[in-house]
Amino acid sequence: MPGKNEDGFAGANHVEVGKIPPSSGKLKVDLERCHQCGLCELFCSLYHEGVCSPSFSRISLLRNPFTGDGLLETCRQCAYPDCYFVCPVGAIIIDEKTGARVIVEENCIACGKCTEACPFNSSKTIIKYDKEKEIYFKCHLCYGREEGPVCVEACPWNALIIEKP
């Protein structure tokens, strides 16, 4: 089955379902432990962009201060990744080591198809746009980082885990 192609623009990644390597895991938050401090966002943006800012983070804390409810949104590393299929230039790759779905910065043409295709991204909390670099970015489980995702390591409350499929 080919990738999503609603507007007639064929994605570059045509891979049969079942032939895409699954991700070795995805980030999951233990809401019982999460204190909604936002440090995961700050560590993420610091590690990847050298800045501190939730807008530059690949994980997003959504909190309602008047109910106490909070949740963390980030890429689910889908088994059938719409973003991957819709990308017209093949800028999204599957990391051989972790299986993470990775937007390769240099190849991104900022068409925005991935951010529209992602079924979980209606609030733009998963695939975000970097105005300065003119690229889209999302969580790739800290692609290339030996120790694994920095947020998992940095969370003071041990609320983030890598959930294996």
Partner: protein, 659 residues
């Protein structure tokens, strides 16, 4: 514009009368004045004339962040508020008030390191700051609403992810102890700056930001912050749920431990709890609010219910009343440690027994609600109590002696001092340090000075005195500084050290409950230090300097950083001397308060009170160590010059206020 690391580059200036909006470069003030409190002190020195009163249009309401605000630095989610304070008694003067939460970080993400607000609007307005663009908008339909309703309305208009500070009816009606509030319970509480906002007809400030804060050395900062978190999260044995939180209530009310501020990585006291859907007792409403710190006091206790100043409301009514103070915008500290003890003591001395016909009864939730409403709207006697207990006592001509037992100085109720503050349990000789801090501040010093007293008293339950004494020796220079069997010797040193630490916390923006990091449960000697293979070992008292370097790129060692804090402390003192005629006489006015017997008996085995002669000798030592003239408590020319404040010395010299 060049971006300075740790900062976003500009401070917003708004004149509400002329509607003029402009900016000034943050670099005009940093790195010299560090940030927050340092910047505000410099602006006040340059711009604030002695005649400006708290409700004058010229009173600058300043909100300042620090270079750490909005970054990964643990406990950095803070901003500081400044202005001529209506709460200060007998005559308002310039002081500060800190706030945690999420507003300060968002302000920086929106492109501003601070805001200076001058002038008075003709009609109610609010500020809308949207990623660098600032507008003054009408708040006529918000005026009169409580702080929660105001925030809901503004979040509906500008988006659920905006951050808001607002005032409630108390601030609008110029209650002298009204707060500026954000979310459910983060507040610039002490000082009554809510009334300053009210006098400016400024209902709220709404901020939305998506920008970055640049970091000079990202990798080093990341490694270091992680190391601090790893060390300090190591379970402090004193962590505990709130006393009143019975396990069976927790699922019913969704009780959940949450960070009370952005970038909170842990504090040993862990007092941020979200209560959800709790039914009220005075009103049939459902209340949801974050409860932290003093908010835990509202339920009271069954044991104290029968005593004159005690009460028992229970969890539900306690939360209801706590949330109500926040909605109206009233200062919980002044209510619970000032006004209510004053009222109940007046009652037990038969000076007053009813508030406009309603019996003073702290076990009755309806009494609380009625009282808070009357004060916030200045109805009946509430109009007098809105002035705060010290002024109310003068106006009513009753209980002025009781005020002197509860309020150490400047119209601020007791706090970690072993006397008026009955909640906390410091004992001799440690409150001698509090006495020096109280004597030489411009407000209740415990906005940013818990580091000595609270750490020693609470950690003494988990650490040995030997360990605490040796850490004291290491940090302050003598084992006597933290020895429970010592007396007046070596108490000026920790007082000065923590006054400078207080400047650092209010300038860089660090949480007072979790800084400084002096104690650790991971080291053999219990002294905090972290070791990072590539950088070596950094000691607890040098953490701030190390972080400052990694965030801003300005290399500075611990002593140089604390020297800058000393310069800011001296600048604040110079402002006090120039604008308000502050002198040694005013400092020593705290003595009678501390001459009363202490609340609890410490290791000395007897109930101590302040020894006037020994304390005066200690204060002489303090002035001498500060490089101030012991005769009048004024900074000397030599000291100011040493600190790079020659222009300040010159101006004081022209006014013959320097030796």
């Amino acid at each position: 514009m060049r971006k300075v690391c740790g900062w976003v580059g500009q401070i917003l200036r708004v004149n509400l009368y002329s509607a003029k909006i402009s900016t000034i470069p943050t670099e005009d003030y940093v790195p010299g004045y560090l940030g927050g409190r340092g910047i505000a002190a410099k602006i006040a020195w340059d711009e604030l004339s002695p005649q400006v009163g708290c409700f004058d249009a010229e009173n600058p309401l300043m909100i300042m962040t620090g270079p750490f605000t909005g970054t990964v630095v643990p406990g950095s989610g803070r901003c500081e508020f400044f202005g001529v304070s209506p709460q200060v008694y007998p005559k308002p003067w310039f002081t500060r008030s800190g706030m945690g939460g999420w507003f300060g970080s968002e302000l920086k993400y929106a492109g501003f390191d601070g805001i200076i607000i001058n002038g008075t609007a003709e009609k109610p307005v609010y500020l809308w700051i949207d990623d660098g663009k600032t507008q003054i908008l009408s708040a006529e339909e918000l005026w009169g609403r409580d702080t929660y309703a105001t925030q809901h309305a503004l979040m509906k208009r500008h988006g659920a992810d905006v951050k808001v500070v607002s005032i409630g009816p108390a601030g609008e009606n110029l209650v002298r102890w009204s707060v500026i509030l954000s979310e459910t319970t983060n507040a610039a509480g002490q000082g009554g700056l809510g009334a300053v906002m009210g006098s400016k007809k400024l209902k709220a400030i709404v901020v939305k930001g998506s920008g970055p804060i640049r970091i000079a050395q990202p990798k080093e900062l990341l490694d270091f912050c992680q190391a601090i978190n790893r060390d300090c999260v190591a379970q402090f044995p004193v962590a505990k749920p709130p006393a009143e939180a019975k396990p069976q209530l927790m699922p019913a009310y969704g009780l959940k431990e949450v960070a009370c501020s952005h970038a909170c990585s842990f504090c040993p006291w862990r007092w941020g709890w979200m209560w959800q859907g709790v039914p009220g007792k005075a009103y049939p409403a459902i209340n949801t609010s974050l409860i932290k710190c003093l908010g835990n006091a509202f339920p009271g206790s069954k044991e104290s219910a029968g005593t004159p100043k005690g009460w028992y409301l229970g969890e539900e009514a306690g939360l209801e009343v706590s949330a109500l103070t926040n909605k109206f915008g009233l200062n919980q500290w002044d209510l619970v440690l000032g006004l209510l003890p004053w009222l109940t003591e007046c009652k037990s001395r038969h000076l007053i027994d009813k508030i406009d016909g309603l019996e003073i009864d702290l076990n009755n939730p309806e009494f609380w609600v009625s009282l808070l409403k009357k004060i916030s709207y200045r109805e009946g006697i509430g109009n007098i109590l809105a002035e705060g207990a010290p002024r109310a006592a003068d106006i009513m001509g009753i209980g002025q002696d009781i005020v002197r037992e509860l309020y150490p100085a400047y119209g601020f109720a007791g706090h970690w001092d072993g006397h008026g503050d009955k909640f906390n349990q410091p004992f001799f000789p440690f409150w001698i340090v509090s006495a020096i801090q109280w004597a030489t501040d411009t407000r209740d010093p415990f906005s940013s000075a818990h580091g000595y007293m609270q750490n020693i008293i609470l950690l003494s339950k988990a650490l040995s005195w030997k360990e605490i004494i040796s850490i004291g020796e290491f940090v302050y220079g003598s084992p006597k500084a933290s020895d429970p069997h010592s007396g007046y010797e070596f108490k000026a040193e920790p007082a000065i050290w923590h006054q400078h630490e207080s400047i650092l916390k209010d300038s860089l923006a660090l949480c007072d409950q979790s800084w400084p990091k002096l104690y650790s449960f991971n080291s053999d000697d219990r002294y905090a230090r972290v070791t990072i293979p590539q950088y070596g070992t950094i000691e607890g008292k040098a953490f701030e300097a190390y972080l400052y370097h990694k965030v801003t790129g300005t290399e500075i060692n611990e002593n140089e950083l604390r020297k800058r804090a000393e310069a800011i402390f001296n600048l604040e003192r110079a402002l006090q001397v120039r604008n308000y005629g502050r002198s040694r006489k005013d400092d020593l006015a705290i003595i009678p308060y501390f001459e009363t017997p202490e609340n609890i008996i410490g290791p000395s085995g007897k109930r101590e009170s302040l020894d006037r002669e020994k304390f005066i000798t200690l204060m002489d030592k303090y002035y001498q160590m500060r490089g101030w003239n012991p005769k009048n408590g004024w900074p000397t020319e030599a000291k100011l010059k040493e600190l790079g404040l020659a222009d300040v010395a010159r101006e004081l010299g022209n006014l013959t206020k320097i030796d």
